[in-house]
Symmetry: C2
């Protein structure tokens, strides 16, 4: 009954070339190689152990995280994975002491695409940094990713540095970025407040300009204005980008960002006027408690005027507020970037959970035997397949839509450079919507995978409780998922309202240009197999999305006050937005399948998954499809028959399909999901490590259990 046999057998049944699928999953051979190398490097380093995480008390847990973060940075430097190294090279280049070959060598790249000359100066370099650093930072980012322990460095790299790059002037970047890149300062992003989250315009912190001293005076006027949640703020950050209402010249100019030093670089004590601390324990054990989400209050904290981030607007020496000529739309570029990475991460988090549940479902056996024979593998039950395989398909679907979003971001960036803002609203709506769709589905999917593992999924060592706990904030941060869907809906309503004027919808809304056809569309599917036809599937999802949008628009038009209508119909609008986003995911999956994909059986497996994804959604949202008339109940029933048959096609390849994610056992962090399937002996071994098992008779026996058993409680004192 040792699981190891089951998985070997499972792997032999795969209907496709797993090694080629790994490359498809990674995105490219290069990406696969980097990922593979870095993940193994982390997994093999005992300093990055994480199996004790859920039993450490908060202080020890946090100290351990600090240790790992420092160790990771040390490894990044040693391995020359980082831009710090590149900066040194650039300095040497400036000093003429290094040829560009040497630079390429140090970067560990082949030098192609490098066109630096020794005359390149640091400021110019920094200006060009965005595109260039992506290549260099890839490995450092991956290392942090595979360490798989959320901490202050995340906020430093993902929020603090980009905020300075995106919102700071050239001069500010020259001053602050080198400090930040070398981590001579550690920064956080202090936006949300105790009483204010999604509505940034509601923030209460004030930054009042004092022309006498050429300083801003920062204050927390109310309790609800206390900064609350910023990661890295609680115990570590030396600096923060603080968002506050800018008040100058007797007027409130709304929310702006300021670079504020929070702690002394000498002894780490908070600077005068600053109250800072951790906001306390969060969901789960381990999980996000490795992060020092913080609270922060200001009592007349003064900063120099030039620490306001002034790329988009300035306050002059005299206290005049001046808008710069830099288009504010550039900020949306960053938003598209960040949300694009969230979608990529969603596919990865869901893949982890699915990998655990799939392998364990192949190991676990239950029922189905007569007379004490071998029981049935739970993965063979249709009820299990019906819940698991759509999630497996979703992981792949989100992977490909994430890949496409990366291209979209590149396109948007290039257009922004060229001051072409025409595609921005569509790109913004589409990334907002996909962020919402994929993260909600992933959060729910992780919990579903836990349930699919039965009782043992509830054990911390299954990895699933912590994966869930650490993942779910993604549904809230960088835009609450419901708020984002309402933004998508608003964009859809605008698009629909412009249709009569002949304006052609672009990109992911192009199908709305064919709305008249779609409103008439009746699916032509006549037998189950018709449902594995891309145009049949695409058509009904387009028709459904279009009809839900049109229905909302028509209902909205009944309201005299459009805002009131929008508010009253919000739930319907959210559903229309979801339909639109699901269509995007399906259409990008289908586009992917139109590409040349090498490897025996690889494309065929992906086709199966694509239809599993689509037909499961069709079943789940049957009401939309049937009631808008694009399919009949009989066609829906055929689609369901086809879906069941697809499950049977996924079944033999299921374990290989999760192997293709190429996760190390370290990263996976789950006894149930072990590559070798040797689940039961390892569960047994793990149990004994619990602190409760340190003594045979538990602490408290003499005080509380013995008096109970001996009926001597009456006089006991507690």
């Amino acid at each position: 009954m040792e699981g190891v046999d089951h998985l070997t057998h499972e792997r032999s049944k795969a209907q496709f070339d797993v090694e080629e699928m790994k490359i498809v999953w990674a995105g490219s051979r290069h990406a696969f190689e980097v990922t593979d190398r870095i993940s193994r490097l982390v997994a093999s380093d005992p300093a990055f152990r994480k199996d004790n995480r859920t039993i450490l008390p908060r202080k020890e847990l946090f100290k351990n995280t600090l240790r790992k973060a420092a160790h990771a940075w040390k490894r990044i430097i040693e391995l020359r994975l980082t831009v710090t190294n590149l900066l040194m090279c650039v300095k040497k280049l400036q000093a003429g002491r290094l040829g560009s070959d040497e630079l390429s060598r140090r970067r560990g790249l082949d030098g192609s695409g490098c066109s630096f000359s020794s005359s390149l100066d640091l400021p110019l370099f920094l200006e060009r940094f965005t595109g260039f650093s992506d290549v260099i930072e890839e490995e450092a980012t991956k290392l942090r990713f595979f360490v798989d322990e959320i901490n202050f460095t995340e906020l430093h790299w993902v929020m603090f540095v980009p905020a300075i790059k995106g919102q700071g002037t050239d001069e500010q970047q020259r001053k602050w970025l080198p400090l930040a890149y070398k981590m001579e300062i550690i920064g956080c992003y202090a936006q949300t407040e105790l009483g204010h989250g999604s509505n940034v315009q509601g923030l209460e912190t004030t930054a009042t300009f004092d022309p006498q001293t050429d300083e801003f005076v920062i204050n927390s006027p109310t309790l609800t204005s206390s900064k609350w949640w910023p990661g890295g703020l609680g115990k570590v950050s030396t600096h923060g980008i603080v968002f506050a209402r800018l008040i100058t010249d007797g007027r409130d100019y709304g929310i702006h960002g300021f670079i504020v030093q929070l702690r002394s670089l000498d002894d780490h004590l908070p600077l005068p006027g600053i109250t800072v601390g951790d906001i306390g324990n969060k969901f789960g054990s381990g999980a996000y408690n490795t992060m020092d989400n913080g609270l922060l209050r200001f009592d007349n904290v003064r900063i120099p005027r030039d620490q306001m981030l002034m790329r988009f607007s300035q306050v002059t020496r005299e206290g005049k507020y001046v808008r710069s000529s830099v288009p504010r739309q550039l900020v949306y570029g960053t938003m598209v970037y960040v949300r694009q990475t969230i979608v990529a991460d969603a596919s990865c988090a869901l893949a982890r959970a699915v990998c655990i549940a799939t392998r364990y479902s192949a190991v676990r056996r239950q029922f189905g035997s007569q007379n004490g024979g071998v029981e049935t593998q739970v993965i063979d039950y249709k009820t299990q397949q019906n819940r698991l395989f759509p999630l497996l398909a979703s992981a792949y679907a989100f992977r490909f839509v994430g890949e496409w979003l990366k291209l979209l971001y590149t396109d948007v960036s290039e257009r922004l450079q060229a001051k072409d803002f025409s595609t921005l609203p569509e790109a913004h709506a589409c990334t907002a919507g996909l962020k919402s769709l994929t993260t909600s589905a992933t959060a729910d999917g992780i919990e579903e995978c836990r349930k699919l593992c039965g009782g043992h999924g509830y054990l911390s060592c299954s990895g699933l409780p912590e994966l869930f706990a650490v993942y779910i904030p993604t549904c809230t941060y960088e835009g609450d998922n419901v708020v984002l869907l309402l933004q998508v809906a608003r964009f859809l309503m605008k698009t629909v309202s412009q249709l009569p004027s002949g304006e052609k919808p672009v990109g992911t809304t192009a199908y709305l240009g064919r709305v008249e056809d779609l409103m008439q569309c009746r699916s032509t599917s006549q037998k189950a197999e018709d449902w594995i036809n891309p145009s049949v599937v695409l058509e009904v999802f387009e028709a459904r999305a279009a009809r839900l949008s049109i229905a909302c628009a028509q209902n909205l038009s009944k309201f005299a006050n459009r805002d009131e209508g929008f508010s009253e119909l919000a739930a319907d609008l959210v559903e229309a937005a979801v339909a639109h986003c699901q269509l995007i995911v399906i259409s990008k999956f289908i586009e992917k399948l139109r590409q040349d994909i090498p490897g025996k059986g690889v494309k065929e497996q992906l086709q199966i998954l694509c239809y599993v994804y689509a037909l499961n959604l069709l079943h789940k949202h049957l009401g939309d499809f049937v009631s808008t008339g694009c399919i009949t109940p009989e066609q829906a029933s055929l689609a369901n028959d086809q879906l069941r048959s697809l499950y049977s096609q996924v079944r033999p390849s299921a374990v290989a399909l999760v192997d293709a994610f190429n996760f190390t056992d370290h990263f996976l962090g789950s006894i149930l999901g072990r590559y070798d399937g040797n689940v039961y002996p390892k569960l047994y071994e793990e149990a004994w490590k619990d602190p409760l098992n340190e003594s045979i008779v538990p602490d408290g026996y003499h005080e509380y259990i013995r008096p109970l058993l001996k009926q001597q409680l009456r006089n006991a004192r507690f």
Copy 2:
């Protein structure tokens, strides 16, 4: 901006008499009074504090739980809440030293319905115990419930004691029950194994009869046969009901229960041949980690023959296996009882989450203001109402169906006494299905409430993470929810298959007797208001449930092998079972509304909630309704309009509707859900209690942060 004002204002808007609603929620004035008294008693006792639970490391947490359990038992004795007290009375009665008035007084009851005479002996008393103890134990059970910290006593009272009562002979009951009632022994229920959960027949532990010594020899023949999960086993229980394959006379007679002593009553050490320990950390912080779920292995452990639970079958001195004449169906009575309590608990757990989310949604404000004015309460957003109010309605719906299940249990018990087993299959299917439906909805609903609280819901002090973590095992234990739905489906298919023979379906399946009408049924609703008509609603839910069952039966008939068909169509069968169970909930809610319900506006509010529950389900499962043809898309759209209007009617009473649950702040355990709404100051206060805030500069600064900032990592060792 202090929340306290918001909630006072909210309460003033209530459209009904809250005090009367409290009694409806509690079930009766008596139940309300007991609940109210006991919950306040617990809340006011500092020994029952629980606000530090999520930050205690496992060992301290567990020790603290032992302390509370002992304290609770002490209080139960002091307050004479328990049967132990009664047992003493009975002994005195026997000795003629106590009148029956005194007995009644000690029981704190009015003595009516008491017909004990001083001639009553203990054995006879114990035989009659089942019904009688329910009244007495009510308060003790409630006290444990309000202490709200899951621990070994739960298993002792809910599994160990009932197993002896249900499966032990009179003699066994006389021997073991007095010990158990006084907690001179502490018991657990050792059924599931590392490799075996739902399929009890697959258990591997063996109990082999040795006629030479008149003993059973218990063994764990494989690793997967290790007992795994039993609560209270890991560190506390002195005894366990162990389920093992009974082997005697050279034959395997399948799974039977045995009373096995596990630990010494002198020093608490495991007895020879027994390996026992805790299975390790589980989901969340605090939560179920207060319970010592255990593992257990046997190496030739010998117990006397008379420790096999022999009510239903015996092994004779010679080793012959003999079935007794006691009908085995009696076991189902216990199952109905336990699942009935799970449904009642589900309504309470969901009510807690809804109470927190509702109050906080009234306190929290976001968006909707121009120029820095007061923002909109989030409870006023339709997207919030659309997610929250159906959960509020579900809490009430589950409450009433739980109340009805209690009556069903009484009816089943009486019939069992009279050896009438005719209603048992239907009662069993219905409790199984409702257990599944209500616990799944509650687990999902708690997480949804957490999301409805935005970022702050993720803080442990919101109470929601722990509520979720501690609740979700309910979906797995006492029958995995999917397995249970398949049982319901099997029962439905059997019922349908018997229709042609003219057999009249009974109880909750009675509607299937009208299947021909239901298959033709087209809803007559023509306007939105038609959807607040009980017969209109009931009819479409009956039609949907009947049609899904019939469709499954028709598809099943296409399979030559019925088991194969059942397996292939499992997902559809689960959906049919869900439809059936939702119908039960709705019909019991409607039945409740036909009763006389006093109090201004109380019945009206409940009517609103009933339709919110039903119409939300109609919208969620729209595909079922529209594709089976019982309603048209236009009728569905009208139902949705009506649902929105119902939300507006719930809105003013929302806070009062959760006040009616009558939860103390102690029990609620949530800063976001505080009765006074004073959320922000208390959140701020709470944050400072985190261990990380014990020092301003965190542990690890000197080792890990400072070297990073000072660029001195290169030579550091980790």
